[in-house]
């Protein structure tokens, strides 16, 4: 449990607080998972640096040719943002699945990434969008591919004790691009998914021009089904091509047997089924 709960009002102040309580303090935003972890004694940090009062971080805007989402933007905001819905639908769809309003109103998309759980809906969509994260520490700012933030189940390469992610960005979908998000869970809502698939696809003249397929939570981190993607590009849009790609995506998954979410075999089959469905969705939708 934390001993102190600090509420800085500027980014500099937040970083200074982290530095002052070096190693003991960590950033908290929505706190959806962190508060509970801390209450249950599963978070060693004793100082919480609450960034929810930092100005300007809740923006969702187009900047420098990117769609940019601030660190305080919640799943609710992302799911209902006209900008995201129109130009990166896959992310709006994914965020729409997350929890009820009590979570959507609080949980931030950035927090979802920093948490590094493979089951996070939003993160899977970000993988498909080739998103980047802006990391800020006392030494400065840098943009890193979101995929590089993942080190394993719940392990993020960003150390929330010294730095924070202030924004996410990605290119909006182009005119010829379409996206889809598919999710299978043992209960429609409020349950960890069995498999999730996010896809961004471009089709021209009956052929796949581009394909980005992200899959979760069937490996320690969400992952891009690169072999499936490669199998699609340049190929005609046919059921056979799609089936082949779906099988390749499943071949790259490494789900565990789960007593509550299904056997490894079933989950592999479902990767295939959901990739197939996402691709068909894109074709028809």
């Amino acid at each position: 449990m934390w001993r102190a709960y600090l509420t800085p009002t500027t980014l500099e102040e937040a970083l200074a607080m982290l530095a002052e309580h070096r190693g003991e303090a960590r950033i908290i935003a929505g706190g959806t998972d962190l508060v509970l972890q801390s209450q249950q004694g599963k978070c060693p940090s004793t100082v919480m640096v609450d960034i929810t009062r930092l100005p300007g971080l809740d923006q969702i805007a187009e900047r420098d040719g990117y769609l940019q989402i601030g660190a305080l933007a919640t799943h609710g905001q992302v799911a209902s943002s006209p900008l995201i819905r129109e130009r990166a639908e896959v992310l709006a769809l994914a965020c729409g699945w997350v929890g009820g309003p009590q979570i959507r109103n609080v949980a931030t998309l950035v927090g979802n990434v920093v948490n590094a759980l493979p089951a996070a809906d939003g993160a899977v969509a970000l993988f498909a969008l080739d998103a980047e994260a802006e990391v800020v520490n006392l030494r400065g700012r840098r943009w890193l591919p979101v995929a590089e933030l993942y080190r394993g189940v719940g392990l993020c390469t960003i150390d929330s004790c010294v730095e924070l992610v202030t924004a996410l960005r990605f290119r909006a979908l182009g005119p010829g691009q379409r996206s889809a998000y598919e999710r299978l869970a043992p209960r429609r809502v409020l349950a960890l998914p069995i498999v999730t698939v996010a896809a961004v696809i471009e089709i021209a003249e009956g052929r796949f021009v581009e394909a980005r397929i992200a899959v979760g939570p069937v490996a320690p981190t969400p992952f891009r089904a690169v072999r499936a993607e490669a199998a699609l590009v340049g190929q005609p849009v046919t059921a056979e091509v799609i089936a082949q790609a779906a099988a390749l995506a499943a071949a790259d998954a490494q789900p565990r047997d789960s007593a509550t979410r299904g056997s490894r075999e079933y989950r592999l089959d479902m990767v295939e089924a959901l990739v197939r469905r996402a691709l068909s969705q894109v074709m028809t939708g």
Binding site: M48, G100, G262
Partner: protein, 955 residues
Amino acid sequence: MSKETISLWVNEAPHRVEIEPGESLLSLLRDRLGLTGTKNGCGEGHCGACTVIVDGRAVRSCVYPAARAEGKRVETIEGLARDGALHPLQRAFIAEGAVQCGFCTPGMIMAAKALLDRTPNPSDAEIRRALRHNLCRCTGYSSILRAVRAAQAQMRAAQAEPPDASAATSAAAYTSARPLAAVGRSLPRPDARAKVTGQAVYSADLRFPGMLHAKVLRSRYPHARLLGVDTRRAAALPGVVAVLTARDVPGVNRHGLERPDWPVLCDDKARYIGDAIAVAAAETEALAAQALELIEVAYEPLEVVDSPERGLEPDAPLVHESGNVAKHIHLERGDLAEGWARADVIVERTYRTARAEHAFLEPECSVAVPEADGRLTVHVGSQIPFDDRRQIAAALGLPESQVRVVHAETGGTFGGKEDIAGQIHAALAAWVTRRPVRLLYTRPESIIAHPKRHPTVIHLKTGATREGKLVALEARILGDTGAYASLGPYVMTRTATHATGPYEIPHVWIDCHAVYTNNIPSGAFRGFGVPQAAFAMESQMDLLAEQLGLSPWEIRRRNAFHTGSLTATGQELRESVGLLETLDRVQAAWRALDSPWAYQTAEGKRRGWGLACAFKNVGLGGGAPDTAGASVEITTEGHIQVRAGAAEVGQGLVGVLAQIAAEELGVGPERAEVLVGDTALTLDGGATTASRQTYITGNAARLAAQALRETLAAVASAALGKPAAPLRFADGRIGDGERWLAWEEAVALARGAGCALRAERVYRPPETRPLGQGGDMHFAFGYATQAAEVEVDPATGEVTVLRVIAAHDVGQAINPLGVIGQVEGGVVMGAGLALTEDLPMRDGLPLATNLAQYRIPTVEEVPEILPIIVEDPAQEGPYGAKGIGEIPSIPTAAAIANAIHAACGARVYEIPATPERVREASTREASTREARTREARTRAPMPGRGSGRAAGDSR
């Protein structure tokens, strides 16, 4: 760093509050501001009971840091009513019967308010979306959805917007087919107002000066010999007042409802992971938890009996010295060999059902208070106040007169609060420390500790004649009763006696074992072993129908119990057998929907309907003492007070008793108030279980009220100069139609004449006999038919329940709104059983310990439910009423499983029918079909055995 002070607005009033580091907004509201209307259902973000509004948005206060609320505006349930005028949502929740136990209600209303504040005219999908994080275990959500729509319509009307044509039709419009003055009318429950305003007091809401907090150390191993417990370091921790072990139990260190096999605190062995080793009482909950960590326990881990199959093996370790068979149940009727000889078709299959958790929204909480006169009072929301008293007294070595159990408002039970769960521990700690002690379970603790629904393996062999008459049934049933008997032996008896379903079968052989294991005990859970039996038998019925070329309706109709039928135990059903009517009404309702029995949607999903019937005993039966007492009093201000020892657990008994007393005394039910479950103030009501209280306590209250009625009739007769017998009581008057006396006047005359205006009666139902002794095992049964429509996604195996038609024979609906609430809630609970609910255990350890992993249905899973009330009166029941508490949960899972088969040809033999199981079953089905086709191609075509039943012929 230490305490800090924050400022915030709560319900528009400014507050400055000192908070602890790490404190949640929930604890700030409940513990510091005393706003206990906001509930703690899990404390870990899963249930939504703690929902409040912060700066216009719904949040879960249990995981919202109090510090973050600095400067914010917080709205809680207490702030909703203005100057005594309820918010439209509160009014609608009351009117629509959207309040049962009421524990989810404050959070649900706040979530709905946050929605309506921003979105005045939400779509149905938006309402569901807004409420999807608020779990309710009682209502099945249908009434909640109706209430939100009604409130929305009201709010729009108040703003003079055109009324919404789509506004829901109210369930409050339902009346009994035989309405009387008060009985048979849909009326709001008397406790609803307190529940929608946050005023209802559950035991965790109680505060006493000097109150300590207790925590229980539970076993580290599912099976271990206890070599020693050292509490010295824990006891030395400042702020810890007592640390108690088995040595400190002054009386009998065993409790148990069926047999005393369950240690209050383990002495010899720990038999499951929830077994209690020690209790620590401290100034704060955190200190008590810290103390537990300092207790040193030496265990010798023993081999774990992880399943009933293992428990029955000759070399299995013994869970109890008496042997691993907790109960062997056997019944036979007719001559099985003759039955098989007469059978033209025989179906033999094995079915499995999962361990299920009650997931009542209110975790167990007991508060024990030593009184100045040396007695001990225990406040607890449980199902059997008088048994609690008996067991507490026995463990403490006190006479029962020294212990008082007061039934607190209870946030749902469903069978899961029959056994002792903290009552004795809290009482013991209070007795030792001489201070009030509160023991509140955490949600994981609740899941680990209290008994569950039995996982079962049911092997059925069923034979029928070509005409579709059932002739023989052989059943072998195995139930995992876990570490302690709890009510398991009775539960498994019910599985056995109901294994035939509500059907006449002349030749029956049923064998059933309830086996001890090192798993969490299994005990009572709504339906009491019968849902498991129903899943198996109703699947058999469809399999037989398929082989015989009969429709699912027809095979059931040909075998259904009717007046004069004999049950498996040989009991003759002499009256009130409304089964066929429920079947007919469901069929008519299904026809009216004009929905094909099975079809494919444009998106390639498969839809289908499935049918199931059920029966369930009302009352304990089997020769068990089944009485209950009640008293009725006319107070000096002219109110009617009904007192009964039964428990109000959300089911609505208080309303039923108010209506009965009002009916007899000819006044409005709003005049009646009901006090339940106080061992010092009420007569023993027995257990609130087995759907028995409307019948038994209802009769007791009726008899008591009738006694008062006779008193009033006598004085009125004298005053009016008319004979007493034909006098009518109506609209607050007593008279013969010509001359009337005001009710108040009659009361005053009676009081003036020194008549007793309080009467108490104990009702004893017709005698029942134990299994195997012939005669009536039960004095009444409820009957039901349900049809479910599902949609199956063939690619993933996902199943969605779309509609359920549910007809229930309740004898007489005392409060139709309450009956519908039971039906809707039961159906949704049955849907959970069918599709999502499973508490798997491995090596004696549970694999789901919270409400995210254990998945009860959310509002997003709720089908459209069409309840139908059938009233085939029971002669002895009050006004003909039977019980309705359990049976709505019984046929649902079976109907859904049958619907899955109709939809996609896949038959599941194990529930829950998870997507994986459904997909597996359809793959299996497809390959059998393929093999059959291949076979058919190579050989002569098979004769028409009806294996490929076409969609249409089951209509």
